[in-house]
Amino acid sequence: MSPRQLRQESSDIVTLYMSLVPFLRENSPVSVADTARHFGVSQKIIIDAVNNLYFMGPFNRSGVIPGGGMFDFDMDLFDEGRGDILVSQTPSLERTPRLSAQETTTILAGLQILRAASEPETRDVIDSLVKKISAARGSNSSPMIVKPVTPPPVIVEASAAISEGHQIRIVYANPDGSQTERTIDPLRIDFVGSTWYLRGWCHLREARRTFRADRVISHEHLDSAISTKSTEDLLQDSLFDESDTDLVATVSMPAWVFPFVSDYDPKLIDTTPSGDLVLEVRFAGVRNAVRFVCRHPGHIRVLEPESLRNAIAQWAVSRG
């Protein structure tokens, strides 16, 4: 897992310390680097945590309770620069804390979406995992249910191909109505809002490509292994490469619309006096821009370029 730099809110720090102590108890001695990697935080955060915990413990009226009340780390080992954490005494926080109701809910909801995209064996694993996590919550009913629509069949197939490192062949309907057969090294599946995408290396175009799963007409799981060497650069979060999205437009919309277009990765450039947002958005073409304004017809307005405004207006009257 790539180390994600956490925004360190106070709740993040409290949660990290509560979780770090039981981990260190089980794994000490362990290096700062390994600990940081395990929790997906920077080494500095772990070093700060150890330095802070060293002076913490349960309190009584005269301060931290002495003798048995404090954390004990081997600070010599820690300071020697080897970066090892050796913990010999933990007066508190020895156990992994339970998940809160909302924490449990977010994990369970994510698992339901993941399940929809998974092949049968993984579904079984997820089902038993859902039972375990629900049991840990201690209450049966949750105030949240997530029932994803069944994804297009290529998603489940691609998900299996990814875990096996195999290629797939698809017939893809291009937005203009033409069809192409492509061999793909599938690398990642994205579910964004309500749309499933398949990302991979396209051997027809010899480039990274993002495919809408609902445009995949047929698919075939190949026995050949993927040939892409590096998958690293596919892990970036932006769905589309800048090269796919050559049309740069300025658009405006009420602020409440914004969350529903966030998959277009819009950049905020201004706010109007009435509170509307002015954004820069990249489109792959006019069709793509039309789809964008149709997310909330009438609420989303392209301001520039003029040629795109005209094309959208033309599209809106030419129908039928």
Partner: protein, 336 residues
């Protein structure tokens, strides 16, 4: 770290409270906590015996709710209940309630699935909750199976609406918000007690008790156009029901009752995608599409423009035409 007025960071204060309450199995009264906790004691010990301080009280109440939000079960135990004397209320964290159940263990594969499930929220306002869940579960020790990235998920829940609704459900509080019905252009002010959330048919639905209309109402999160304002705790006589299940059957009923009939040009982009979403067209060449709300369906179908024709319900095509007219109006003539 954010430093509060007393020079003690909020996180140190919260951690001190957790450690201290875990240390005393019978708990402590508020004054006992104030007297010993860093971040409280500096001010508290300078007060006269019977004096109270509003700032300390407020800070304590904020800290308590923050800890509860983090899943730390602070209970209050009253020894002299009949006297209703706040001073005698003891605050307790029971280790058995604090601790993640010892008998639940995860495999590396399971942990990697949890990592990906948590990632679904990374861009939304619930990112914090899923981040915390991950941190806690990682403390169980096992490294996740990193073999392949596979599936990445992202709900469209950025913005504060979703988080505020969650918070209100969690704390049984009312919310106020402006709501734009799918078929309307004038927002309404609503005041409800939210009860459950459902993601179904690619929409977040909120089930709630409407405090003005005194009845249950279902809302679409995507149509809440102001950040909900949290109100006070509502005593609700029917709490304890499985409202998420009630909402799920309600939404299912709506979708099964309403069917639209839509034709698409053969092999057009619309045809390919409608077939992928709603299955093969019937013998008459038209797709059958279940929906809950006509205006919402028209929003969803509008991007297909002239590639589709709606024959049923009768008003669907005119709803579509109205949208094309709105898009035309927004894009004809010079930009403002």
């Amino acid at each position: 770290m954010a430093v509060s007025g007393s020079g003690v960071t909020r996180e140190k204060r919260l951690l001190g409270m957790i450690m201290t309450l875990l240390y005393y199995p019978h708990g402590l009264t508020k004054n006992e906590l104030f007297a010993c906790l860093e971040g409280y004691s500096e001010k508290f010990n300078s007060l006269r015996p019977s004096e109270t301080d509003q700032g300390l009280e407020r800070q304590f109440s904020r800290d308590k709710s923050e800890l509860r939000r983090l899943g730390i079960p602070i209970e209050t135990v009253s020894e002299y209940e009949a006297l209703n004397d706040n001073q005698a209320t003891r605050y307790v964290i029971r280790e058995s309630e604090y601790e993640f159940p010892k008998d639940i263990l995860f495999s590396a594969q399971e942990l990697s699935l949890i990592e990906r499930a948590a990632d679904a929220w990374r861009e939304g306002s619930m990112g914090r909750e899923s981040r915390h869940a991950l941190t806690k579960l990682r403390s169980l020790g096992l490294p996740a199976d990193e073999s392949r990235v596979g599936v990445s998920l992202s709900f469209n829940t950025s913005g504060d609406v979703f988080e505020r609704v969650q918070e209100a459900i969690d704390e049984s509080k009312s919310i106020d918000f402006s709501y734009l019905k799918p078929d309307s252009s004038t927002p309404e002010q609503r005041k409800v007690l939210p009860l459950a959330l459902l993601f179904r048919f690619n929409q977040w639905h909120m089930y709630s008790f409407d405090l003005t209309r005194e009845d249950f109402r279902t809302f679409l999160i995507s149509r809440i156009i102001s950040v909900p304002r949290l109100g006070s705790v509502v005593e609700f006589s029917q709490s304890g029901k499985d409202f998420a299940q009630i909402l799920a059957s309600e939404v299912n009923r709506l979708y099964s009752e309403n069917v639209a009939i839509v034709e698409a040009d053969l092999n057009s982009d619309a045809f390919v995608r409608l077939r992928s979403m709603f299955g093969e067209p019937w013998d008459d060449g038209a797709f059958r599409i279940n929906f809950s709300d006509l205006a919402l369906l028209a929003d969803q179908l509008s991007e297909f423009g002239h590639m589709i024709r709606a024959s049923s319900p009768a008003s669907l095509q005119s709803e579509l035409d109205a949208r094309f007219a709105r898009i035309y109006d927004a894009h004809s003539g010079g930009a403002e």
